[in-house]
Each structure stands twice: as C-alpha cells, then as structure tokens.
Symmetry: C2
Subunit: 151 residues, 2 copies
C-alpha cells in the first residue's frame, strides 16, 4: 500500500480530526471523549425513538425498521462507555459524579443496557416479543439515567 | 406489555428527546437532524482513526480492534445520510450547498463510502488486505469531503 497516499487521504478525510487519527493509541482529549460519548447517546436516541413509538402503538409496527434500528442499537450501545474516562470529570456534561464514584455499578448498568439491546435485536421481527423487549430496554436506559445522569 | 410503564421509562430514558421518541414518524427538526448526522461523523472518525494509524504503521496492527471498529463502521456509515434533509439547508454546518444541489452525486459518494466500509469489515483480520482497504475507505471519505464539505 502507498502509505503517503493513505496519509494524504486521512488528512483530507478527517480534517481537524487527523491528529486524532494518527495518534489514536494515545488517550483522546477529555472534551473529545465527551463529544464522542454524547454522539453515541444522540444516535441511540435517534434509533430507539421509533421503536418506542412502535411499542406504544404511536407508530405502526414495521419489522424492517425494527430489525435495522435494533441492529444499529447493538453497535451503538457499545460506544459510549470508554468516553466516561476519569479525565472527563471536569468537563461540563449531564454525567453525575456517581459515574466515577461508583464505577462498578455504572458498568453493570451499562452492561444491562447492552444486553437489553442484544435481546431486542434477537426478537425484532416478532411483534409481541419486540414490544416487550423495547419496554425492557427502555427500563435499562432509564435506570442508568436515573442514577448517573442529571435531570 | 404495560404501555404506561414504557411511556414513563421512555420519558425517563430520553428526557428532552421524548417528544422525538413519541412522534418519530413525523420529520425530526432540522437542528436535530444536523446534530444526528454530525454525531455519526464524530463516531466514524472515532472508530476509523485507529484503523488509519494501523494502516500507516503508526500503531501496531490489532486484528481484534480492526474487526470491531470495522464492524461499527459498517453500521455508522449508514447513519449520516437521512440527516442531510433539505430542511437542514439553513442550519450552520460544514455541509456545502452542493449536497442539496447535486443530490445524485452526493448519494453516489455516500454509497461508495458505505461500500468501502463493508469491504474493510470483510478483510479486517487479514493485515495486508486490511491496510489496502483502509486506504480505499479513506479515499472514499476524502473524495466526498472534498466535494461536499467546507474546509
């Protein structure tokens, strides 16, 4: 592979982010970590929202959308957690101090949400089971937000 | 399923986003669409960055990280595009007018990037092929940024 070409392309592709792209195994900066974890939460909300509407009967059940979104959510549910690095404690966000004071409980809550999304993806094409699984996933999200996120 | 419980949990889970969660089949607001597409780009950068570093020899090749990140990228590469809705034209962002003036070319560029990420995921555990595929993916990203994104 032409390494120079890749360098140029990465610089083109990621602009200001290229520094990160080339020094990634160094720790990302705290504000970048917060931006990344908030981005994951924004997309979780984007793709979970329609499933919540379906589960509540506010939108018609659509098996294809349910399966696509649930698949995305399995991936997205793995993305926020490394962003809650201790170095981010001082950055303004909705994360409560409990995130860093009770890491084991936070990790457990995060894992419960990931498990709920995996279950959701497994039943996305079965309307009844899907609706129950959406409820369980919403509870997992809400429980963690209650304990670890400012209102 | 207890619908009231799900309503409460969704409201807890998504806070200010609950309006979106309950009216999802209505079009999201333009500023929300921009936030969502930028979130996808932020996460694409997060997970592509380490692969670029590996391809350039700035970080050691790690097949597990390569495969995990490439899998995430296949999902993430599908997420930005519905955020470039015509309703977002007036929102301040790096998107150039060309996005809305040349939709067919933009769609083609987006699809080329998605294809490159899918190929990348397919070869993530083969170091040589992986490095070439990272270069191809970076080119696809960069080509689209060149034409459709402000410097």
């Amino acid at each position: 592979m032409n390494k120079k070409l890749v360098s140029v392309c990465l610089a083109l592709a990621f602009g200001a982010g290229a520094g990160y792209a080339t020094t990634v195994l160094a720790q990302a900066k705290p504000d970048q970590l917060v931006k990344q974890r908030q981005s994951a939460m924004t997309l979780i909300s984007k793709y979970f929202g329609p499933l919540g509407a379906m589960a509540k009967g506010k939108a018609p059940y659509d098996a294809d959308v349910a399966a696509r979104n649930a698949g995305f959510l399995v991936a997205l549910s793995q993305m926020p957690w490394d962003g809650f690095h201790p170095s981010t404690k001082g950055i303004d966000s909705k994360a409560l101090p409990a995130v860093y004071e009770n890491e084991a409980k936070f990790k457990e809550a995060a894992e419960r949400m990931q498990g709920a999304m995996t279950k959701l993806a497994g039943v996305a094409r079965d309307e009844g089971a899907f609706k129950d699984a959406v409820g369980a996933a919403a509870k997992a999200c809400g429980a963690c937000h209650n304990d670890f996120r400012a209102k």
